[in-house]
């Protein structure tokens, strides 16, 4: 699956975040607009190993550390459109995502209920801020239009859409069932609706 996508394996990138900030911003932009795996591989190769060192210190356990890295980088891949280079550097944005995930992971480990969650304190990845600018996707789609495009959705997106919209499950239930992070469910839903919209546009 990784064919043709170089994960800078050989070169140790020793640059500091400031030195490659503009480059990483550009990569994130390409990820957001074109879902470009090559660009994401650049971001990933730079940040994932560094995140792992941070995560190991914070979680003190290899498995949890790698979970933190994966959740963080997964959000970077899926939410790249929420990165705003005018608001801060890529390293600050990625750090805040990792900090939020770590905060929630620790709460979960300590079995705290009805507690304060990271979104309450630092709404780094709140879709609302991005979404309020455009009309809800469903308002732009009409019933007959979508029908036969639905089958063209990727299997994973279709699964999530089916579970939520046919079985009426909550996003959290879907996440638990498929054993994927809640953020992944949300972004699959968003991507699916976006894709449907794009397909409609193409056929207009």
């Amino acid at each position: 699956m990784l064919i043709g996508i170089p994960l800078d394996q050989k070169r140790n990138d020793t640059r500091q975040p400031k030195e490659c900030s503009a480059e990483m911003s550009a990569h994130l932009d390409t990820v957001a607009k074109q879902r470009c795996k090559v660009s994401f591989s650049k971001v990933f190769s730079y940040f994932a190993p560094r995140l792992r060192s941070y995560a190991l210190k914070q979680m003190g356990n290899e498995a949890l550390a790698m979970e933190l890295v994966q959740d963080t980088m997964s959000n970077v891949w899926q939410k790249a459109h929420l990165f705003n280079s005018e608001k801060g550097s890529p390293s600050t944005w990625i750090f805040t995502i990792a900090r939020n995930i770590r905060f929630d992971m620790l709460r979960k480990l300590q079995n705290r209920k009805e507690d304060v969650c990271s979104d309450d304190l630092w709404p780094v990845l709140c879709e609302q801020t991005a979404d309020t600018k455009t009309a809800p996707l469903d308002e732009q789609i009409t019933l007959e239009q979508v029908g036969h495009y639905f089958d063209d959705l990727p299997v994973k997106q279709k699964k999530v859409i089916e579970a939520i919209y046919i079985s009426g499950k909550s996003q959290q239930e879907v996440a638990d069932e498929l054993e994927i992070p809640l953020g992944t469910v949300k972004s699959r839903t968003r991507l699916a609706l976006q894709r449907l919209k794009d397909m409609l546009k193409e056929h207009d």
Binding site: L7, V69, R112, K113, E114, E144, D151, P154
Partner: protein, 262 residues
């Protein structure tokens, strides 16, 4: 004019995510109201981020893990061109469901159901962003003695957050704290024999402080506060209510209220 702020070390702990959730809530709400602390937090966040990512990557031995991770993260995008599992019998039903659910979701949208203000005493109090997210967990307002009103938010973990509204000339009997009391002044002014406080002030008190908050302002005063132990009243008739102080400031069940012998 805000005079009282969290310490720099509190701000660093806050942006690092190591401050307790209750304290984080207060610091976050304070930053909503205070430009200077918000800017500081942003700077501290940047500094932490560069510290975390400054270290050059060291080992390459776990690289296969990263290769797997990379493909797991990105495989979402693979098109289902060959796999037709899960074809839907009737796509238009699906869409009906989608629209129905989206409508339901939009009714549940936080911006629509969560109020950005509290209405009290015929006045509207605009809340800091952070606290707006908790208004749907706000309990009933109850009237206490001394022109005081209180509404609680359960933030879990044995900690209790509450809004307290003091009407004009309202006061809380003199008391001290067994644990910490953090208070953020949302709107209004009050004094407590230690100092004078104004909107936005972040007040951190512990067992070494004994105070008698009261407000003389025409407008009354709304504060948000978090305590981890019940208050202990120290003077006059209010001493009588110490055994009952859970009526004033309830703590989670399971914790008993002990009476000091002083």
């Amino acid at each position: 004019m805000i005079k009282l702020h969290p310490t720099d070390s509190d701000l660093v702990d806050f942006v690092e995510g190591t401050l307790s959730p209750a304290k984080s809530l207060l610091v976050s709400a304070h930053c909503d109201m205070c430009n200077c602390c918000r800017e500081k937090s942003e700077i501290f966040t940047e500094q932490l981020a560069s510290k975390v990512f400054d270290e050059p990557e060291q080992s390459t031995s776990i690289l296969s893990d990263f290769v797997n991770m990379f493909s797991e993260i990105t495989e979402d995008e693979e098109l289902a061109s060959t796999n037709n599992n899960g074809i839907l019998a009737n796509p238009s039903n699906v869409l009906q469901q989608i629209i129905k659910n989206e409508l339901r979701d939009s009714r549940n949208h936080p911006n629509l159901t969560k109020s950005d203000a509290l209405y009290l005493d015929g006045r509207k109090f605009i809340l800091p962003k952070t606290l707006i997210r908790f208004t749907d967990r706000l309990g009933e307002w109850s009237k206490l003695v001394g022109k005081l009103w209180q509404a609680q938010i359960d933030i879990g973990n044995g900690q209790l957050a509450q809004f307290i509204y003091m009407e004009k000339d309202g006061s809380i009997p003199e008391h001290t704290h067994k644990g910490n009391e953090l208070t953020l002044v949302i709107d209004g002014e009050f004094s407590d024999g230690i100092s004078q406080y104004d909107s936005g002030d972040y007040i951190n008190l512990n067992s070494s402080h004994t105070h008698t908050p009261c407000t003389a302002s025409e407008e009354g005063c709304l504060v948000f506060s978090v305590i981890d132990q019940p208050l202990y009243f120290t003077s006059g008739w209010a001493k009588l209510v110490n055994p009952l102080s859970n009526l004033y400031f309830k703590v989670n069940s399971g914790q008993s209220i002990s009476i000091s012998k002083s």
